[in-house]
């Protein structure tokens, strides 16, 4: 009926808050993953787009500077109002484009156009070769102008090819292909993320279903066990009632017979028989009472009636029942009642039954010539009833067992002793019902001492003693 550790672990998963928390967490994680992925794809796309434009720009600017230089060169040589300083500056501007193309990190795509690097390098060498002519150029020096233009102009188609290739040629389609690849990668990784998330969700659902089924099974098993237990309790209770009624008749009529209320019975043997019937009937009745109590306890139907009474007197009443049996077995029952006249609050019937069960147990197991010490004392708010005997004791491995209902030891040849095995079990249940506990100290051949602790007994010294 009790749930195991495993049950509790799955129980935690049955918690709806945990389930929602895990689902929301997985959802947020998925969204973040997709967002990160989207962002990095976007960044890459933009970087590629930027590089395409930049490389085109770098190539076309070089082309433009070369044309600009050639135009101003002619303007100076033809005497069209262009200064030599201006030509030199245009030469420097053209010069400054080469390192950008040949070594600048930005121009890596432009350089990777087949033949581009070699072409631009050759052009750079040509530009450097014409520097003396440019420095010493005079207006009207057509020979120098032709040397300069002749060195540069052959590069124009190749330079234009580079620009064109970057803008619309192989390089462009290469970049476009890379963009396409990025998009494809993006698509597949989004699918992968969704699949991953989906499988996590499915797993969660499956796990929830499984734990639900498990919990269902547990609930059904518990209900069945509870129903069985209840049926047993009801059966015991009904049976006990049914048995008690005829028993009362048997005890009553056998008493009438043994006391010869309606006249003598003739042979005294009949009287002894009637005595036996009464004794056996009483014994049977006490067993039935025990069973009835067990049934009530298991059905949670045993009511506690707390009242104030004199503890010592209750013990004395209990012992009175055993005077005859103790004398017969030559067992000395002594009492230790330091707080004899103290009132305590408890269930009188249960405490008396506790006392009876313990003393009767001790009487049963203690050999002739032995000794039983019964005591009750108060300790703060608690009352402690103790019964110690000089019996054979309880083996260590059975101390925890003896309080189980119907427990009978099969050791020490005790099988032939009477009893139902309910006594100690009831003692324990009675104590626990009142918030108390039972402590058993025993060792083989050293006797047994049972202590019943009852908290909140609210002991109070009786008025008579306080006055005397």
């Amino acid at each position: 009926m009790r749930r195991g550790v495993g049950g509790r672990l799955f129980g935690a998963f049955e918690d709806w808050r945990l389930r929602i928390g895990v689902s929301v967490g997985v959802g947020i994680m998925l969204l973040i993953l997709i967002a990160i992925q989207q962002y990095s794809t976007e960044t890459e796309r933009k970087a590629y787009a930027y590089l395409t434009r930049t490389n085109h720009w770098i190539a076309s600017e070089m082309q433009r500077e070369m044309l600009g230089f050639l135009v101003d060169l002619d303007g100076y040589v033809m005497g069209q109002g262009v200064s030599h300083g201006h030509v030199l500056m245009k030469y420097d501007l053209l010069w400054s484009r080469f390192p950008i193309f040949l070594t600048g990190p930005e121009a890596s795509t432009a350089r990777s156009v087949p033949g581009a690097f070699e072409t631009v390098q050759a052009l750079f060498e040509a530009v450097r070769r014409i520097e003396p002519d440019v420095q010493t150029l005079q207006p009207g020096d057509l020979a120098a102008r032709n040397r300069i233009a002749g060195a540069l102009i052959p590069f124009r188609p190749a330079l234009h090819d580079i620009t064109r290739t970057i803008a619309i040629g192989d390089k462009r389609s290469e970049l476009l292909n890379e963009l396409l690849e990025i998009d494809t990668f993006h698509f597949y990784s989004t699918v992968a993320i969704f699949l991953m998330g989906g499988s996590v969700v499915l797993l969660l659902l499956f796990e929830v279903r499984r734990s639900e089924r498990r919990a269902d099974g547990e609930r059904r098993a518990r209900a069945a066990a509870e129903a069985a237990s209840e049926a047993k309790s009801r059966f015991l209770s009904n049976m006990s009632h049914e048995l008690r009624t005829p028993l009362n008749a048997i005890i009553g009529f056998s008493e009438i017979t043994s006391e010869e209320l309606y006249g003598p019975v003739g042979s005294p043997k009949y009287k002894d028989c009637a005595h036996s019937i009464t004794a056996s009937g009483r014994h049977l009745l006490s067993i039935i009472e025990d069973i009835l109590d067990i049934a009530r306890i298991e059905a949670n139907a045993l009511a506690i009636n707390r009242e104030r009474f004199e503890a010592g007197r209750m013990v004395e009443e209990c012992l009175l029942m055993f005077t005859e049996e103790a004398r017969r077995k030559r067992i000395d029952i002594r009492t230790s009642l330091p707080d004899a006249r103290t009132d305590i609050t408890s269930d009188r019937r249960l405490l008396k039954q506790t006392c009876i069960n313990l003393v009767s147990n001790s009487l049963k197991f203690t050999p002739p010539g032995g000794e039983i010490l019964v005591g009750i004392r108060v300790d703060g708010d608690s009352a402690i009833l103790s019964v110690a005997d000089t019996g054979p004791g309880i083996p260590e491995d059975e101390i925890d067992e003896v309080v189980r209902p119907f427990f009978r030891s099969d050791k020490n040849g005790q099988q032939n002793l009477g009893g139902t095995g309910l006594g100690l079990s009831l003692v324990k249940s009675f104590a626990e019902l009142q918030g108390g506990r039972v402590k058993i100290e025993s060792a083989p051949d050293r006797g047994t001492k049972v202590q019943v602790f009852l908290p909140q007994a609210m002991p109070r010294i009786a008025a008579e003693q306080a006055a005397g």
Partner: protein
């Protein structure tokens, strides 16, 4: 000779007492060497009609800012030196919110005045301690700080990093 020496001493004393910004309150000197930068448009201090012209010495006289940074056109860390855009703008008492920056080859781009405070760019006149020729993208190069040398994304300020800078028009 005497009045000029006196003026120079007085200027030096003024600068020493009042620190950098006070330089901006003095009048703008005239260039003596070749003009390398012309600032026009919405400016409060001029040295030619409608504009402020700078030679190299004037730019060197402005407070110098050193920047160790990377660019997408150079290899490894570079040390650029020159007046910060903020100092240059206050030297001409610039107003307006946009700068149209043009290069020797006709390249032109708009730089928001707010960039001066936002990124702290400088108008570099030296690269690794040496003046820059036109062939080395000089003599003036607008340099924005760029700590990350191998970022996947290009620096968004690349387009505004004008090399061979020649004119700035405040709008």
């Amino acid at each position: 000779m005497h009045p000029r020496v006196f003026a120079a001493v007085a200027l030096a004393v003024l600068m020493a007492i009042a620190g950098g910004p006070s330089w901006a309150q003095t009048t703008l000197p005239s260039p003596t060497g070749p003009v390398v930068l012309s600032v026009t448009g919405e400016i409060g201090r001029t040295n030619v009609p409608g504009g402020a012209e700078f030679d190299m010495a004037m730019l060197e006289a402005l407070p110098q800012t050193e920047m160790r940074t990377f660019t997408d056109w150079t290899e490894g860390q570079q040390i650029f030196t020159g007046p910060s855009l903020t100092d240059l703008l206050s030297a001409v008492a610039a107003e307006g919110s946009r700068i149209k920056a043009s290069a020797l080859n006709g390249y032109a781009i708009e730089i928001p005045v707010s960039d001066a405070a936002k990124f702290g760019p400088i108008v570099a006149i030296r690269q690794n301690g040496a003046p820059m020729s036109v062939r080395d993208k000089g003599p003036l190069w607008v340099i924005y700080p760029n700590e990350d040398q191998d970022a996947l994304t290009p620096n968004p300020n690349n387009d505004k990093s004008v090399w061979q800078l020649r004119t700035m028009e405040l709008q």
